[in-house]
Every structure is written in C-alpha cells, then in structure tokens.
Amino acid sequence: MMLMKRRDFLKIGAAAGAMASLYGCAGGGKASGHVVVVGGGYGGATIAKYLRMWSEGGVQVTLIERNPTFISCPISNLVIGGTKTMEDITVSYDGLKNKWGVRIIQDDVVAVDAAKRSISLAKGGAMTYGRLVLSPGVDFMWDQIPGLNNAEAQAKILHAWKAGPQTVALRKQLEAMKDGGTYAIAIPKAPYRCPPGPYERACLVADYFKKNKAKSKVVILDANEDVMSKKGLFMKAWADLYKDIVEYRPNSEVKDVDVKTNTAVLEFDKFRADVLNVIPPHRAGDIAAKSGLKLINNRWVDVNWLSMESTSTPGVHVLGDAVFPAPTMPKSGHMANQHGKLAAAAILNMLSGMEPSQTPVVMNTCYSFVDAKNAIHVTSVHQYDPATKVVQPVKGAGGVSAARNEIEGKVALGWAKNIWADMLA
C-alpha cells in the first residue's frame, strides 16, 4: 500500500492530467533540486544522465570525477591481451556535459558532512546537495599484503584492477617478459570486483603467450576454494585451448609479497613469477568507507534496495561495487549501471514528494572472452522481495552460455558500445 500525503496526491493528480509528457508515461510531480554524484564510472555516469533525462532537465546534477575521461574495466583485459588499445576503452565525458547538461568537476571529494548536506573537495571549497550519490567503486586493503603497502612496490607488482595506467603497465610487463617465463595472477577471496574477470585475464594472457611466447606459463593463485564464476566454461577453455599453459591453484591466498624477487608468499608456500599480478582484497571506495555510513563486515555499504540509500545516513545513496551485494549479485559494471537507474527513479520520486517504487528490478549480464574472439556469458535477474527487503535472484532465470562461441564475442563488443552510450552519450 502506498503511503501518501494529501499534497502528493494532488501532485500525482496534476501529472496524470498532463499525460503528454516526453516519454509518454504518467509521471509524478516534476522533480527539482540539486544532486551531487561522486564518481563517474558505470554507476555514477549512468545516474547523472538518467536524472537529467528523466527529470527533463528539472534536476541539477553535478558529477565530481577525478579522471579526465572514462576508462572501462570491462574490455580492458583485451588491452592486456594485446588485441585492443586504451583508445578503444576510453570515452569522453563531453556527452554528459553537452547533451545532458551535467556539470562536471574534475576533483576528488575528501569529506562528506551528511548533517549539513555538504561535501568538501580536494582542490578546496565545499558544495551543498539536496541528495548525494556516492559511486566510488573499490579501494584496496593494502594492509592485507604488507609488502605491497608502499608506492614503489605497487608500481612493480601491479593489480590492473582499475583500468588506466596500470592496464598499460601490465601489458608492457607481459611484452617485456622473455619466452619461457611465468605470469601469475593472484585472486582475493570473494566478494571482489568482477567475479569472472581474473579468469578471463588468465585466458587472454594465455592466448597471447600461445601465439607469441609458446613456452610461457600462466598460473592462477586463487584464494577461493574454486573458480568463482562460469566455472565449467573456464575449466573447459583451459583444458581445450591452454592445456600446457594455464595452471589453476585453488586455496592459494597470497598473504604477502617479496617485491625484490617478485615472489608471492602463500600460507605454506611461495611462488616466484616473472610477471606477478596481485589483486589485493578490496572494500568500498574511500569516500564511502570513511564517511560514517553503516558498513557490513567493515567493508561494504549497507543500502536500502528500494532507493540505494544508505541505511544509516539519510540523503546519501551508494551505487555499484561499494555496496554490500544482494544474494548472488556480482560487483559488475553492468550491475552498477542498473543500480544507477534504480536510484535515479527513486531519487526523482523522493524529490517530487513520492515514495520510491516498491517493485524495483535489476539484472546483470557479463561477457568474458576466453580468447581474442570467443566469449561466454553469465546473466541473472533480481526482483525486490518485500519479505527480505532485498532484490533476490529470480529462480529459473539467468544462467551461462552453453559453450564458448564467436557470436557472443561480437555481442560482447556490441554490449560495450551500447552500455557506454547508455551512460555517457
């Protein structure tokens, strides 16, 4: 049952009378106000555009992003594998600015004062907001791998788990590696960003080795007890395509590194690699983790799934990888985009005096390449369940590819074009 105040009823009545709106649907009262969005990735860029589009320009949106352009994590493993370039995964923020009228500020947010509804910027100054959206992605828990807890070590033993300079640097390390060398990728315990991503990266590095450095090896040091996503399909790719190249080692958590010798330190073992790629455990991005919002496991923000609003801090919404996920919900760019739309709809309702929709739906689609051309997918649909107050996976829906195939390889690149446009154009 909707809870409605009399003035809200009047607003709805007025809107229902004016049904010839741009998108042909009965809207609430026209929303207005100022929303500040922190972080212009898959979640933040999407909500910035959708707030402007759905409010028909009624809501002012400021996007604060530290980087000058958007660089995509999805598809970045193809840059590491050598078949795509950084240019292929870089998109301008001009569309958000010029087409949608989003005010873009290149800066970092260093503090949130939720009581005063104000944020502080690294370059100085503060800004007030009606509602705040934090979409900061993840930051790494360097203290979990002590040897990596300094800038020099981090420049040598790369994560490349945020697309950008590290993506380029890892590609260069692989190019410089002699034939007969070993590349090792260390995967942290779940939950981490992009569950199938490390296994895709192992495949694409193996594909590069197979074609260019056939004596080289890929070793996967997985802190988890098993392959976390698309298991059968990845195992089959390793067996069929990379039999003498890829070695998978479960229960192999990296506890530390010896930077000088490029050695991963496991609980009972050590592993030296020519190229050592350690993905450290991560948590909600700094600004979300350190702004007093309620966290779960001291790592991820607890949100209300009807609005993506923090359960502890009114007026602050959090999207994407920084959120404590609903059951079986992956930390993916696709899902962050869906969070952005859910929150955009909820915020516009709230700004026009209505409750958020009580029946939100989000879905995920994630393609992984197993070589330069063939891809596999995993998909799921999540519907809000009032009993558990969480978006729950729909039983019987979703699933994975029957087998790797080139058609999905083409669709994966088409997916990227469409989602980048859905966020930024």
């Binding site: 009580q358 939100p360 879905m363 649909v381 699933g399 058609i407």
Partner: protein
C-alpha cells in the same frame, strides 16, 4: 481523509491506463533495465549488432519474449533473461518500447 485520498489517487492511476502501476513510472523503469544492451530507450548504437527495440510493435515484441520464455525461439542469452520478468512486466516493457518513435 488520508485513506480516502490514497484510494482516490490509486484509482486515478488505474484510470491512467496501467492497472499494475504501483509507481507511475514502472514501465519506464523496467524498460531501462534493457537499455544496457539495447540502448537508451531502446535506441541501440548503429552497427553494434544488438536489436533495436524503439518503435517495435508491441504484439511482435511480446511474441518474441514469449518464445524466448518458452524456448520456442533459440537464443544465446534472452531465453535466460526473459524468464526473470513476469508477463505483466514484459507487457509494460513492450508497451514502453512500442511508444518510442
């Protein structure tokens, strides 16, 4: 008075044409879950190789979705996604895209 106005508001929403519409923007919100792959408001990027949904006749879209759900129409992924939505939700989605001209 509060109850009365709530009832009145709800019946107005029903009269506005969407019997299931707890939220007046439900169709728009549901259709937006398709936009990641099929483009904002169903307008796909030209040449990206993914079906454009904007302006697709509602009955045609519903038939396709029903065939995905039943397995009658082979698919790489849509048979798995269609099953995640109720028939009422698919009806709203198809109606929304059909109205995008």
């Amino acid at each position: 008075m509060k109850l009365l106005s709530t009832v009145a508001a709800l019946s107005m929403l029903v009269a506005a044409g969407t019997a299931q519409a707890a939220d007046p923007n439900l169709a728009r919100n549901l259709a937006a879950t398709c936009a990641n792959c099929h483009g904002t408001n169903g307008r796909a990027v030209p040449g990206a190789g993914i079906d454009e949904l904007a302006g697709m006749e509602k009955s045609k879209a519903l038939q396709k979705l029903a065939d995905f759900k039943s397995g009658a129409k082979p698919a790489s992924i849509m048979h798995q996604i269609a099953k995640g939505y109720t028939d009422e939700q698919l009806d709203l989605i198809a109606g929304y895209f059909a109205a995008q001209k």
